[in-house]
């Protein structure tokens, strides 16, 4: 099972670069999600990997074979890949069995009895046993999606590509299918690239997530990496919610905003830099206001006034105006709701949870 | 209708027998049969043209006649247009506009060929240089619908047609399509000048194309007086029982002799000569007189008793050269007065 290496990939449409100098390495058997807002280039990247588009610069290697470069592109039919499309792309004039068997018949040239056996097996694996002779038009959205999955998996591809396969399903089905896809990946272990704009989906399904913005990979890492240690504002805001406190690095490890001083872990930022400190709402603890309680060794202390408290059942969402700083922080606290709007509170957050991020 | 059919069949048999005898003798036959067909551009009215064609085919099995019937002016247009594109299809050209043949002769587009037995025909049916000969003749006349017009009310002279009482009730054919009508117009211009037509146009005359249209229009009652038209088609309609009557104006009736000739570039020259001969035989000329109501130049042809003899009518003749020279003018001024 080979991996995929993308280096310096560039694709332009006229003056606009959909993908610009993109680098990404997918290990053999790994499932990497390409996550980003619309227009970030994730689908373009996927289609470049599939061979439907030719790059202006850069390379795509599978294992040690170079499949795409600026000078030559191996056509999709010779890439030993499989793809699941957002619209499923099931052929309406063929039965389920014919759809699923297509790759075996055309690409791998497997003979008929063997084909029928493998089709039956894979349909059982996706829980569509007995559907061989139906037509796609007769199936529900969820069933169609499973046929698409079966069609892709039965050919035992080296690389599996998925282009937002769950977007057309309703919310409940989507959740269910997320786990299903993860389960199938663990069962088959195929190197997979998965495009999505839904961060929760990416976090459930993938081994690692590559966040894309404007044609480039901004950060790659596990869900925990991205959530707990975002490297840029963009990533911090895209993955989960966060508070961003703008300020200036006064000294190594200290950020000043107005009269508010925050201690932050040491990093690459230098004194004098403009930084935004990212503080996740659930990392802040709200306490009753006690004057002049000394901060712990690895703690930042602030005081403020509750502006809004929304009871959400599983938690409480507060908005707190901080003294002396012209900053409002969102806090996610466990229930019950202890502070009403107007109450004075004390906020504590560990230094480690206050990440200084450079511009963008 | 039925009697005519029987007559035709009988005639065809007769003709076959007669020509069968001629068959063995004519040396051109072999060549003609090899050619296989003769292409005939004719302005003779369609059923008549088809009839002549079938007669020939019966007499000479193996040689087909391709009939292309349209108005005289259109025939000339076709011939010149095709020649201009170097297309040589037509063998025999037959229209009712003598001026055409003057022009075609001048341009060296015809061959000199005198059909067998043509010496007997009167001078008006022969070109002195031997390039074209009158296949048939007719006169143009006034016609009216007997259901709507009584004999006493009917117009008697060409001048009568100018009467405003006929406003919106008259029909004419067009010299831009028909050679018969072009000849008619020139004859009347000689008689009464262009002013005649200027006045006539004020009667809001309906325009048709072929000289065979006005009889049909009058018979159907769409219009009740025809200011011109081919006498032979009116005669036939009358014989069939249609409510149409013919008036031969005393001022004179224009005589229209319709010439025929063989193209110099004819692709089937032998078949063409054979066909031409055939159409001038007494049998075929008699057929044209009998079933088509035509006049011919053949001295032995007998005409029905209810048709006036040519010698009894005051005939207005028109010189072919003049017809050719003034063709443009005729068409232009007619359009000018009548609108289209």
């Amino acid at each position: 099972m080979p991996g995929v290496t993308i280096s310096g990939l560039t694709k332009r449409y006229g003056d606009v670069a959909a993908v610009e100098g993109l680098d990404l390495a997918v290990a053999p058997g790994e499932l990497v999600a390409l996550l980003g807002p619309s227009g970030c280039g994730k689908t373009t990247t996927l289609r470049l990997v599939a061979g439907f588009l030719a790059p202006e610069a850069g390379e795509i290697r599978v294992g040690d074979r170079c499949l795409s470069s600026a000078s030559s592109v191996v056509p999709p039919e010779h890439r030993k890949m499989a793809m699941i499309f957002q619209s499923y792309a099931l052929w309406p004039h063929m039965t389920v069995a014919q759809n699923v068997a297509y790759g075996l018949r055309v690409g791998r040239r497997v003979d008929r009895p063997e084909r029928e056996r493998r089709v039956r097996e894979i349909l059982r694996a996706v829980q569509l046993a007995g559907f061989e002779r139906r037509y796609p038009g007769e199936l529900s959205g969820g069933q169609q999606q499973r046929v698409a999955v079966a069609r892709a998996l039965v050919v035992e591809p080296e690389i599996l590509l998925l282009d937002e396969p769950l977007s057309n399903l309703d919310a409940n089905l989507r959740e269910e299918m997320r786990f299903e896809i993860r389960r199938l990946h663990e069962a088959f272990g195929i190197t997979t690239l998965y495009v999505t704009h839904d961060q929760a989906e990416a976090m459930v399904i993938s081994d690692r997530i590559a966040v894309l913005d404007r044609g480039r990979v901004v950060q790659v890492g596990t869900a925990a990496d991205l959530f707990e240690r975002p490297r840029t504002r963009f990533v911090a805001q895209f993955i989960g919610r966060t508070n961003l406190v703008e300020g200036v690095m006064a000294a190594p490890g200290v950020v000043l905003r107005g009269r508010l001083s925050l201690r932050v872990p040491a990093g690459e930022t230098k004194p004098g830099d403009q930084v935004a400190v990212s503080i996740r709402p659930h990392t802040i603890t709200l306490l009753a206001d006690e004057p002049a309680r000394p901060a712990g060794a690895e703690e930042n202390r602030m005081r403020g006034t509750v502006r809004r408290a929304s009871y959400l059942g599983a938690g409480v969402d507060y908005e707190v105006d901080i003294d002396d700083a012209d900053v409002t922080l969102r806090v996610a606290a466990p229930p019950p709701s202890r502070f009403a709007p107007g109450a004075r509170v004390s906020l504590a957050v560990s230094v480690e949870a206050c990440l200084p991020l450079a511009e963008a | 209708m039925k009697t005519a059919h029987v007559l035709i069949v009988a005639l065809m048999l007769a003709v076959s027998v007669v020509s069968g005898a001629a068959w063995a003798q004519d040396p051109r036959l072999e060549a003609a049969k090899k050619e296989g067909k003769v292409v005939w551009y004719t302005s003779l009215v369609l059923p008549s043209a088809e009839k002549v064609a079938k007669l020939f085919e019966a007499a000479y099995p193996g040689i087909k006649v391709e009939v292309h019937r349209t108005g005289s002016q259109r025939i000339l247009q076709r011939v010149m247009q095709e020649l201009g594109a170097n297309i040589k299809i037509v063998d025999v050209i037959h229209t009712s506009d003598a001026g055409h043949f003057v022009m075609l002769k001048d341009k060296k587009l015809l061959i000199q060929y005198a059909p067998a037995g043509i010496e007997k025909f009167p001078a008006g049916f022969k070109d002195k240089d031997g390039y074209y000969f009158g296949l048939r003749a007719t006169v143009t006349v006034i016609m009216y619908n007997t259901k709507s017009v009584s004999a006493s009310e009917a117009p008697k002279t060409w001048k009568d047609l100018l009467d405003p009482r006929w406003k919106g009730k008259e029909v004419t054919a067009h010299p831009g399509y028909s050679g018969v009508v072009a000849t008619h117009v020139l004859a009347l211009v000689h008689l009464h000048g262009w002013d005649y037509f200027k006045q006539l146009a004020q009667n809001r005359v309906m325009l048709t194309q072929s000289a065979n249209d006005p009889p049909g229009v009058v018979a159907s009652g769409e219009r009740i007086v025809a200011v011109n038209g081919g006498e032979y088609s009116a005669y036939q309609l009358k014989k069939k029982g249609n409510p149409i009557e013919i008036v031969y104006p005393k001022e004179g009736v224009p005589l229209v002799v319709s010439p025929t000739a063989i193209a110099a570039f004819a692709p089937h020259p032998n078949a063409a000569k054979l066909f031409t001969d055939f159409t001038f035989t007494r049998e075929v000329q008699q057929v044209m007189a009998d079933s088509e109501g035509l006049y011919t130049g053949h001295p032995e042809v007998k005409y029905p008793a209810d048709k006036p003899k040519l010698s009894d009518l005051k005939l207005l003749t028109v010189d072919a050269d003049e017809l050719e020279k003034r063709n443009e003018e005729i068409k232009k001024r007619f359009v000018e007065f009548f609108g289209a």
Binding site: A50, F52, P75, E77, H78, R79, A82, M83, Q86, S87, A89, W91, P92, H93, Y102, G103, V106, G107, R108, R151, V155, L161 | M1, V45, L46, P47, E50, A53, V67, H68, R69, T70, G71, Q77, R78, Q81, E82, G84, A85, N86, I87, I89, G168, G176, M206, L207, T208, Q209, S210, D213, S220, G221, E222, I224, N242, E328, V335, F338, G339, A340
Partner: protein, 553 residues
């Protein structure tokens, strides 16, 4: 890159030849004259009184046809698309029949119905009222406008009905809730939304009217006036004035181009009026007491367009003398006999028409499919220019195209005049736009992802075309074939200039017979032509499984 590229490029080049060459010659000849290049022909054309009158007549006729088509087509479209009108299927079927009836056949039938003296309707009127003068005179400008409108208003109907399909009912219901009555809603809410479609329909009707030859030739000439198409045709009479014909063609060409440009602007690039709001549920407006009167009204319109003309054609086909009352001894099969067995031009004309129909439809459908595919999948860089080229012939009226082709192909190196090929070229050029539109719609319906799915699983481009694209596009391509075939059968305005005695087609023969006054034969041949047309339409509907006009249920 792809081995299939040269094929695409070649097709593009062929197009340039079919369209640019005749147009080029047309312009070139219009600028030539006795003294060399110059505007002499234009000057002659502009000072020709006949031509000026013809131009004016054309403008008047086209304008009134546009208005009348709108006046009939728009209300009928609204009734069919938005209300609970009974018998909608019937109306739509009749609309289709009207759409495929050749206008010249309709004009001819109306001569028999409304000729001022012999016309059957006038006779009836005179019998009933004892009046002397006729009720209707078809040989007049109003008569011409009437006869043309009967076969032009379906275009307006289709355009407006299709647009109305796109409008969700809630916009109208919002007005109704606020107290507006049915009629007020129609005028204040629906009307503005369809305004672009209305304007566009008007322009379409005007364009159709401008290009007609047959109807003016049948109705205007006997009344003593020309339209520009008949005038151009008359320039071909001996001695021919081709330069004048070319110069006279230019105003027609320019007018058509301008109108089309205007229409595209109104509709945007998609070619249909886009309306605001989501496409939601459509609920029918209740007509209440007006239901059946409205239906009868629609039926009356279709009677003028279909029942009366077809009826009188059938009558003429079977009568000795069509104007005489229908009686046993007036009945005859003689006309049928004459048309098919005696008139030598008929058989070869039918053969020619069928040959040309099949050839043009097949080549046209294949070309249209190739082009639509190339453009839809963006196979060639700059393929966005191709639709423009393909649709360009819409701008050229049939007569003008014929003049251009005549000039281009009656001289070396390509001497096509006198053969069926020149007619083939004319028909192909004329029908390609319709074919392309249909093919374009077909391939839009076959999503590119369906092909990509095949490719990633191992099928090469050509295999994907054969196993995936072709089966899915098949019925659409066949529909294209049928559209083109029907268009070719009834074509007259180009054929009338390009035919030679050897290469007559059915429409030309019918026109010839008209000049002979052979009503019976015309009716027989006309009905035969209609039979061929309807057989093709039935085939198309069976294949497509839906209303051919594209109006959804």
């Amino acid at each position: 890159m792809d081995r299939s590229l040269p094929v695409w490029v070649l097709t593009g080049l062929l197009l340039a030849l079919l369209i640019l060459l005749p147009l080029g010659w047309l312009v070139a000849l219009s600028l030539s004259g006795d003294g060399g290049a110059g505007l002499a022909s234009y000057r002659a054309a502009l000072t020709d009184v006949q031509l000026r009158k013809a131009l004016w007549n054309t403008v008047v006729m086209a304008f009134w046809v546009g208005l009348a088509s709108l006046a009939i087509g728009a209300p009928m479209a609204w009734l069919t698309a938005r209300t609970d009108l009974p018998g909608k299927r019937t109306i739509r079927a009749l609309m289709l029949a009207s759409f495929v009836t050749p206008p010249f056949l309709g004009a001819f039938a109306w001569v028999m119905l409304a000729g001022p003296n012999a016309g059957l309707l006038n006779k009836l009127y005179r019998d009933l009222t004892g009046a002397q003068d006729p009720l209707l005179n078809i040989f007049s400008m109003p008569g011409l406008v009437f006869a043309v409108t009967l076969y032009t208003f379906p275009y307006v109907f289709i355009m407006i009905a299709n647009t109305l399909e796109l409008i969700a009912s809630d916009l109208e219901e919002a007005a109704a809730i606020l107290g507006a009555r049915r009629f007020t809603v129609a005028v204040t809410v629906t009307l503005p939304m369809v305004a672009p479609a209305i304007a566009s329909g008007f322009i379409l009707a005007v364009l159709q009217a401008l290009a007609l030859f047959g109807s003016p030739a049948i109705l205007a000439l006997p009344a003593g006036f020309h339209t520009i198409t008949t005038q151009i045709w008359s320039y071909f009479q001996y001695p021919p004035k081709i330069e004048l014909a070319a110069a006279a063609s230019m105003p027609l060409l320019v007018a058509t181009a301008l109108l089309l440009f205007l229409q595209r602007r109104l509709l945007g690039r998609r070619g249909y009026a886009s309306v605001g709001g989501k496409t939601g549920q459509r609920r029918a407006v209740s007509l209440g007491a007006w239901r059946w009167p409205a239906f009868l009204g629609c039926l009356a319109v279709m009677a003028c367009s279909i029942f009366l003309p077809y009826g009188v054609l059938a009558r003429a086909a079977l009568s000795r003398a069509w104007a005489q009352p229908l009686s046993w001894d007036n009945l005859t099969l003689g006309n049928v006999w004459f048309t098919f067995w005696q008139y030598s031009a008929t058989r070869s004309a039918i053969v020619n028409t069928l040959e040309l129909g099949v050839m043009t439809a097949t080549v046209g459908a294949v070309m249209a499919a190739l082009l639509a595919y190339t453009v839809n999948r963006r196979l060639v860089p700059g393929s966005q220019v191709l639709p423009f080229l393909v649709l360009a012939p819409v701008v050229i009226p049939g007569v003008v195209l014929a003049v251009g082709l005549f000039i281009a192909y009656t001289r070396p190196p390509l001497l096509l005049y006198g053969t069926l090929w020149i007619l083939f070229a004319a028909y192909l050029t004329k029908e390609l736009p319709v074919g392309y539109s249909q093919s374009d719609a077909t391939f839009r319906g076959v999503h590119a992802e369906l092909e990509e799915a095949g490719r990633i699983l191992g099928a090469g481009r050509l295999r994907v075309l054969g196993e995936i694209t072709a089966p899915l596009a098949r019925s659409g391509i066949i529909a294209t074939w049928c559209f083109i075939f029907i268009g070719v059968i009834r074509e007259l305005s180009a054929s009338i200039i390009l035919f030679t005695p050897d290469t007559k087609v059915m429409s030309v023969v019918i026109f010839d017979l008209k000049e002979e006054g052979q009503f019976g034969a015309i009716a027989v041949l006309g009905l035969f032509m209609l039979l061929m047309t309807f057989a093709t339409v039935t085939l198309m509907q069976t294949l497509l499984g839906r209303d051919v006009l594209g109006v959804r249920e």
